[in-house]
Symmetry: D5
Subunit: 142 residues, 10 copies
């Protein structure tokens, strides 16, 4: 049984870009073993991540994120059984948030700055789809 899970969280202040790269690198290796694929966005101190895989593997990974000290206010945005993956080709892509222009943020939010907690789930997911569609997805370190 395949599931897709989307969450957002606040990065604790100590997380910087180097640490992020290290996290990504390690998580890609783990994900390959666990059959997890997906995309991670990191911007303005927020994480938004979607990942897909077997139900047990996805719940184990989410359990590790919930207890991971680098995330706070971990909040589910969506969770559903899926017949097929949307991100089967990415061990864990990274969305380049620097390419976001203000109009794209305004399209879904009240102000021109990213705050996933202030949006409805539907808006976050639509924004996320546009990020995936328009921002280059990188696989740094791969």
């Amino acid at each position: 049984m395949l599931v897709r899970l989307t969450y957002c969280s606040r990065a604790v202040p100590a997380v910087d870009h180097e640490e992020l790269v290290a996290i990504m690198k390690k998580s890609r290796a783990n994900n390959l073993r666990a059959g997890i694929t997906g995309v991670l966005c990191f911007s303005d101190g927020f994480f938004i991540q979607v990942f897909e895989g077997g139900r047990a593997a996805v719940n184990q990974l989410y359990g590790r994120i919930v207890v991971d000290g680098r995330h706070s206010d971990v909040t589910l945005l969506g969770y559903e059984e899926v017949a097929e993956r949307r991100y089967a080709g990415w061990a864990m892509g990274q969305a380049n948030m620097a390419r976001l222009n203000p109009a794209l943020l305004l399209k879904y939010s009240e102000r021109a700055s990213l705050d996933p907690y202030a949006l409805s789930q539907r808006a976050v997911i639509a924004l996320f789809d546009e990020l995936v569609a328009t921002a280059a997805i990188m696989c740094p370190g791969s």
Copy 2:
């Protein structure tokens, strides 16, 4: 929560083109701060305006218009929660009504002259969409 509001009003006689330009200029600055986007049509002594933004900001702006002495017979044409903005890229565009041809007006109204109060909401909004689609939207002073 994002909402979209459409209204029409009669301009009091004293409003001339210079004053309109001044209004637009000032409102653009205010709108940017408040996260408001949208389009304003001014023609034949009528205003038709649509604007989008956070629910509180949109209601505050509409409250100021209702009490603004330059508008009379301010009348709501539509109001709805929206998942995403349609005019996210315009601080406040201005539709060039001079480009309207008579057939476009006849398409939605009984006579070939603009009277938003004589039309159903659905017709006004369809007309407005055609204005946005076919008339050039200008951002004078920006």
Copy 3:
């Protein structure tokens, strides 16, 4: 409130092409004043006409046709409120029935000759749409 009205009638024998041209010329001027637009077909002694406009104007025009001695057996084929006109650009176009081929007539009728009374409303309107789409619409005298 906009409405669209379609009717057919038999022309009394005395109506010839010159009279028709005169009728069309006069009606165009009237229609412009009344905000009426539409298309008229005249063929084989039958009129089929569709016109659109404000509800009062359309009913006044239809009332004049009903009492007009040049029409007999005036019969409504359709009448409905519409959100927008389909023929906003024509003061009163004239469909060129000479371009009709027999297969087009057979498509909607039992025999290869035009008799609007022998058809259902749906078939007449579909035939009429094909006339508008394929026959040239002329505006003689305009």
Copy 4:
């Protein structure tokens, strides 16, 4: 082919109740011969009537109403082909408008008084249906 036609009109001032009764009596006899059935409402100087029958018979009757000096501003409210009649059992019923309460009028109109011209077709027809459903339909003189 069966059709249903709904119209409203203003009664010219000279029409009083006795004349109305005479009209109804005569029209019932004519309707039986022509296969016409339906219901007539007369109130506050307005007629609202719906009748059903063969297409030719219905158009002939409507043509007589249009030229009848006792009606002015005769206006179509609806016209459609129908697979079956709704009023097959009434040669021409008469709706008792005296039973209308203000809340029923307010349900469909801006003010608590009847003006069929100020309403959309949909509202008139819904009001008419409630009249038929709740007011007693009389067949005076039958």
Copy 5:
């Protein structure tokens, strides 16, 4: 053209029950003249009101509420053209909020206390419908 408008607001502290009764009494008389009907809820310092009527009358009334010093943060919750009224029988009913039990509030809100601004429009309207359905609607002073 009929419209229905729903808004909420905060009552300024000085509004007490006696003033509310006076407001209601006066507004009922005004509403009857203007053809306005609807229901008003007042609880915990919030107003939630829905009213219906002609488009001009409804917008005039809403304009007076926006500038009324006893309301602050006046916020539209819904506005739509309607084919018929839902509250045609009430000059202005008053919902008895004291009958609300906590489970009903929890059904639509995060906490067991009323805060219309913290809810989506859909939730407010559903809550409002339950209030109308289950709480007694009173017409004090009528």
Copy 6:
């Protein structure tokens, strides 16, 4: 924003009935403060629980369950935004699994014993709804 979350987990062996009662008692007090409502099933060493509330409160509670040593293999079965709660009246009901008959279990599972991990989400939720509908929901300690 209200959400509903359903999960299942295995109870670690040390959890006995007394501990369960203590857990339930404490969680009811916490839930009331946090605005959480729902139902808990405990049977054959499995927990199945559904709870509803504000998005932040629900995610905080789920985070505590994920790290709670008395649960293992905590697995999401469903998560969605909801317009209204289904369990607004229960601080945390407890489903009496002893009333389950084998046919009810067979209806959704391959064998006549409960194993929520062997079922699809849809089947677990349907089974859960039948539990809520047919088994008595108790509120021990309340």
Copy 7:
């Protein structure tokens, strides 16, 4: 493969009631052998009949009716494959047309007399269903 066939025809003048009874009696025996079921209406010199059965048997029976000298103008009103019969219990019922009241005929036809050829297929079939539903179906001679 089961099919249902509906036709109408004119009875040649020589067919009287006795002959009809004889026809019905013989056809029932044949129908039982052929697995044909259905209902026959005979009124005002018209037959309307529906019968169901295997495709071959139904076509053989219809072929015999087409060449039967007692029927003229035999005309198909409907023919379709069906998953199940509607008249499985009647070897060949006979609808009692004497119970038809004028309003039922007017419901589907322009005049208060039966002429199946003047009606659309949809109207004939609706009329037929009402006959089956309201008139007593007899099985004379059975």
Copy 8:
């Protein structure tokens, strides 16, 4: 009223190609007079034919086919009222079955040979549409 009728039949052995050509030639002349259009397929000793026209004309033609000694096992495959013809341009086209490849036959039948009686109506009509679409339609003798 227009109808479309589809049937299949077995040709009696004596029918050869010359006779078929003669049949087609004569039927085209008759069809033009009767306003009948359509397509005839003849292959492997089977006829499959579809024709359209007025209801009376179509039933008269079908009646002649049923009693025609050159057809046996005449079986209706479909019959329906239509708003417009599909074959308005062909007095009676002839489908060239020699262009059928085995895969096309297998697509709709159990074996790679044509037997219209072994197929469901839906399959025959789909096959027939592909014949019309892919095989050249000839009008020999026209």
Copy 9:
């Protein structure tokens, strides 16, 4: 994963009622162990059976039936994944075909005798549902 499988077969002549009872008795014990539930019909030398359970268990049972010398012409009538069982309460019920009346058979078949191979799958399943609904389901030997 639950599936439902329906098949029919011909019983080899040697199967008599006693053997059938023995088969049923044994299969009930096996089914309980395998988590299989369902209903078996035996009539006129045909078996029609539906059974539900885990996908592996259902396929193993169907494999044994295919090779069982007492069945010939074993033919699948339906097979589908199901979210829940319809026959969760019967280890293997037995439909009493003696209660079938001829009209019920005629409803789905060309002749008044049972031949499941002559019917479409849809008809067999509808017939089967009526058997289950109207005939008594017995559990002999239980």
Copy 10:
């Protein structure tokens, strides 16, 4: 009546590529005679096959596969009546699994290796469709 059947099975270890080629060759000849068409996938010790044809022929072929010693754990994945074949052109194509990339497998399964038993029917069929669409279908030996 046409049906389509999909199954998977494990190949017993002794099956090697040469034997597979021999199987395919022989089955193609048989299939042509029986009117069977379809596609066979063989990979990683699993068979996934879909075939279409007459209901009797398809069930006979499936019966032979169930008892064939080279297959174990033969499991139905789908079975349905179809109006037309999808694989009418292939006596029995062979899907080239070597062209499968890991992302395609991950799209439908938890791990990047093929195990048809671990997937839902829907996922297997979607995967199979992509194999047919993207992998070259070969007809070795034809």
